[in-house]
Amino acid sequence: MENKAVREIFPRDAKKSYGLVELMKGASPIVRKEPEDTVYTWPNLIMIELICALLVTAALILLVQFEHAPLRSLADPSTTPNPMRAPWYFLGLQEILVYFDPWYAGVVLPGMIIVGLMIFPYVDTNPKGVGYYTYTERKFAVFNYSFGFALWWITIVIGTYLRGLDWQWYWPWSDKLAHMNPALVTLVPLHIVFVNLLHVSKDVAKGFCDVIFLGYFALGMLIPYMFMRKFYDSMGAGRYITFMIFFLSMMGVALKIVLRLLFNIKYIVVTPWINV
């Protein structure tokens, strides 16, 4: 060691004639610390990082031997490609545009995803499961994360492989060059379904729909509060309400996708300003 300057960091206590000492393997004494199973960052961790970096570089260089960055023809404002696809990481949102109006699918929903992710640590009050992988100790949290990102990835897969001309549904074996006849599917708002089924007036039917929509959120808020009191108590009112708004919205998005794909429902609620 070339550093010869010896400094006394812990001056000996003059009143005490003893010190606590333990013998253990190692090349240097550990002071004021319990014996622990540690190794030096250099070279142990640094080498792992270096190898990691080299592997990633090698993998990338290998990849670009087979796959090249695309370059289409010069930008032309007068010819719109059909179908027009966003970059893959936004294809989920583009696919959601099928099920919701743009103000929701393109603006409010992405905003809610971001805010929802940010508040997660503040509404998850379960102290268990830090520092190791576990599903059993935090089933509900893992369920929420997985459900949200399952939606995200499934819609990406749909957008990438199952959408073709005019953003219509094309199976892998369908003729990709022939336009689908959009008239085959008639989309209706939910209240029209009620008008046809129950023979009520449009306004009454719309009232039904509003009740259903608000009822979904109201019951969604109430039921866990009434019957899963432990869950509520563990969170407190503020956390509970915040969490449930995001939770019910996420479930609502999934529900709407199902309603649209299976029953061709375009809107649940229709108002003069916004439709959902």
Binding site: S28, N44, V56, R72, F90, W103, G106, L117
Partner: protein, 253 residues
Amino acid sequence: MLEKMKEKVVQTQLFKSVFRHGYPDNELNQAYVVFSNIFLHIHPVKVRRTALRMRYTFCLGGITLFLFIMLAVTGIWLMFYYTPYTGLAYKNIKDIQFVIFGGNLMRDLHRFAAHGMVLFVWLHMTRVFLTGAYKAPREFNWVVGVVLLVNTLILSWTGYLLPWDQLAYWAVTVGTKMASYTPFIGQNGPWGAQLGVNPTNDLMFMMIGGTVVGQNALIRFYVLHCVVLPLVVTVFLAVHFWRIRKDGFSGPL
């Protein structure tokens, strides 16, 4: 022989002036190398042996960081050949592809590292989630992480416009069109028109500097992509790493 040369080199004034300690082959210098080096000092001097096991982080955060560095390097290289002008941008990319030595490699690396970064930032987030590493006292670092995630996506998307081909043009046209549907501040959004918002004063106009994607949009996206967003990411990364050390690492590290 090599050993002797190494001895000689590390004893020189030059070496000492740069590193201020000898070669890290003994414990004192192994400690010094980490805490006296600005790049290494984000690490603790010692880590628990179990932390070297890869099956906790899978190196995902580290790979994301490495891809970001790689993007900076290849990106700066590309900047030497690229002009953010609608009349030239596309030709520049063609030149990079077909004329400039190593151009294709650099552009491909930049493109795929970008895709990789988006993928790995998500994988890293998933790792952090599944190990509960966002819980107290690390809540805020998770929030910082989400900011990084969003910035990564926007970085990738602003870069998408720069080649000025059909793919670029229409992806950004449709994407920025979404902004015009923003409630209150978008011309097509709910309560937008009622508030007097029109095509020349709404959010989309602000984003692309006009009513259609053109030269103004290109220069905006260029500056955001090459200067503003990388800086933002760097600042948030500094906070991110600082917080990992201050909050303590969650795992067996």
